[in-house]
């Protein structure tokens, strides 16, 4: 009963969320235009300039963030890496969202054997962590960027499917669906104009949870050396190169690592905030 009297929440945006938004904007700008910041080309190697430290630790302004084992400028490689990570993350998450949601909606709309098949597929996916599936597929087939993109995209599709199926099933039980059916509306109209817009919220919420996970999956696979292949690079890939020189060239690990961390963190914070605004009754009780 006391819920009725809960005081209204402050409607202003908290500082943390603003910072997170800021970071994401900066990251995107860096990904898109970062390569312009450096006169070097991301592939340009230089035998004499290998493993140079960054500014402030003995380095020079020629290579502000230092160089890697082949003398390539870290700054420009980070920019390219950021771009690749961004593309993979967004495209990947979209693929998973669209595919999973569609399957979930179909399962709920057409009950019966088709639904059973989709549930079966969801069950299989649920018992295999996506990284294991990705490793398996990459072992069996020849690795290519498209394949990698697809695999990373599959991250979490089964969650979308389950959520959407549940949401559509419960939406079908809603009073207004029954009343509008009684008006004579076709199934298509009911799904398209009534059920779908109301479950869209759920997709959006899941998207915000899923995006940082996709970023982390891509970087992990690249770190293991099985993701993005040279000459392309990603943030995780740079870190895998730095792994063996952890003590001698720590900047190769720290800078890409911090970018990944803050990116995932910012997206999570923004996601939490979006969730709270969309439906205060949903999750995080503040």
């Amino acid at each position: 009963m006391s819920d009725r009297y809960k005081s209204f929440e402050r409607l202003s945006t908290p500082l943390v969320v603003k910072l997170a938004l800021g970071f994401v904007v900066v990251f995107v700008l860096f990904a898109l235009f970062g390569q312009l910041l450096s006169p070097h080309e991301f592939r340009a190697t230089s035998l004499f300039d290998r493993l140079k430290p960054p500014i402030g630790f003995g380095g020079t302004w020629t290579y502000p963030l230092g160089t890697d084992g082949r003398g390539r400028d870290l700054l420009v490689r980070l920019a390219l890496g950021a771009q690749i990570t961004l593309i993979v993350a967004i495209v990947g998450t979209l693929v998973g969202a669209v595919l999973g949601s569609l399957l979930g909606i179909i399962a709920a709309a057409k009950r019966g054997p088709l639904e059973a098949l989709i549930i079966g597929a969801v069950d299989v996916q649920a018992s295999l962590p996506i990284i294991v599936v990705a490793l398996f597929v990459l072992a069996v087939f020849n690795s290519s960027f498209t394949l990698f993109l697809l695999l990373v995209g599959l991250n979490g599709w089964e969650v979308y499917a389950r959520l959407m199926r549940g949401a559509v099933l419960s939406a079908k039980e809603h009073g207004y669906v029954m009343a509008i059916r009684a008006l004579g509306a076709s199934s298509f109209r009911i799904y398209f104009r009534h059920i779908f817009p109301n479950v869209l919220n759920i997709v959006l919420v899941q998207f915000t949870i899923n995006l940082p996970l996709t970023v982390l999956l891509e970087t992990a696979l690249s770190f293991l050396g099985l993701g993005v292949q040279p000459p392309l690079t990603s943030l995780g890939q740079i870190m895998s190169e730095g792994r063996d020189r952890l003590l001698t060239a720590w900047w190769l690990t720290l800078f890409p690592g911090l970018i990944i961390f803050f990116l995932a963190l910012s997206i999570s914070i923004i996601g939490d905030w979006v969730r709270d605004r969309l439906d205060p009754t949903l999750r995080s009780e503040k």
């Binding site: 649920a126 962590p129 294991v132 597929v137 069996v140 940082p212 970087t219 770190f223 963190l265």
Partner: protein, 307 residues
């Protein structure tokens, strides 16, 4: 209730069957399955023998049933570089992974649930916010970054190299990788136990218990926490997948001689037989774990028994 048990078992069986079938399809449509399954440096005649044994010339469904038969007999092929059977390779490395996983789970559960409880009981103040902030950080932190940072700190701060080859499987040696692996789970257990406890505290039966004269401590320990713990069981079951996924990367970072490291190495060397077995073993483990969680519910939640 038997209906419940039977339907869960059936579902588990179907899931495993589908997984095996999927693995079969992928391998069949990859490069040269025979060469993949045969021992290394095998002469062409042996590869041809394998091809015949695998029945690559026969229709697909025959190949499928042969495959199932093989699996049933425990023949998962041989590793490309060592020549040993993939099963024995796996079993060699299993203890290390179990040790690491078990420790991580232990850390995550004790730390996570304690933090979550503290947060729920101190709702709104800085302790609560601190725990929430921690869980967000833990969620976003890439485990390989954290692991590398741990190694770095160990090297620079304590002059100990924690990521060396053949890290000792001792309870001191397991601490750095266990902390790394358990970090993400700790965050999610903290967050979940906090929200579960908060939700339970606001339930009508706790208000009614207060009206009946039950003290706050008693209400918390005997009424709130047991009820809040129930959904936590599902979460733990679900997080098993994350633990397995995390160990793949963590073992790599710390050169921990477990199944995860084996998997990565096998993928890199295209050792299909071993990869295949590990994938199936993981699927099997998760399906069984989910079954156990479902059956555990029968014991701890009397409401399920009626269904």
């Amino acid at each position: 209730m038997t209906g419940f048990i039977l339907s869960k078992l059936l579902r588990a069986f179907i899931t495993l069957l589908l997984t095996v079938s999927l693995v079969f399809i992928f391998i069949r449509f990859s490069g040269d399955p025979a060469a993949a399954m045969a021992p290394p440096d095998a002469p062409q005649e042996v590869i041809d023998q394998y091809a015949e044994k695998l029945g690559l010339d026969k229709p697909l469904w025959v190949q499928y049933t042969n495959y199932l038969g093989q699996i049933f007999r425990g023949d998962f092929g041989h590793s490309v570089d060592s020549g040993r059977s993939s099963v024995s390779l796996f079993l060699d490395r299993l203890p290390a992974t179990l040790y690491l996983g078990g420790f991580s789970l232990l850390i995550a559960l004790t730390v996570g649930i304690s933090l979550g409880t503290v947060a729920a009981l101190n709702r709104g103040n800085f302790l609560d916010r601190g725990v929430m902030a921690f869980s967000v950080f833990a969620f976003a932190m890439p485990n390989f970054l954290f692991g590398l940072a741990v190694i770095l700190i160990g090297a620079l701060g304590f002059q100990t190299y924690l990521g060396g080859q053949g890290a000792s499987i001792s309870w001191v040696g397991v601490l750095p990788p266990a902390l790394t692996l358990g970090l993400a789970s700790t965050g999610s257990y903290a967050r979940f136990s906090r929200s579960s406890l908060l939700e339970t505290i606001n339930k009508p039966f706790l208000l009614a218990a207060e009206a009946r004269g039950i003290s706050r401590t008693r209400r918390l320990i005997f009424h709130a926490m047991p009820n809040a713990a129930i959904p936590l069981v599902t979460l733990i079951g679900l997080s098993l997948g994350g633990l397995i996924a995390g160990s793949v990367v963590t073992e790599q970072v710390f050169a921990w001689p477990g199944v995860g490291q084996l998997l990565v190495r096998s993928v890199a060397t295209r050792d299909i037989a071993t990869v295949q077995f590990i994938v199936l073993a993981i699927a099997g483990t998760m399906v069984v774990a989910n079954l156990l969680v479902d059956f555990l519910y029968l014991i701890i939640d009397p409401r399920i028994r009626v269904q």
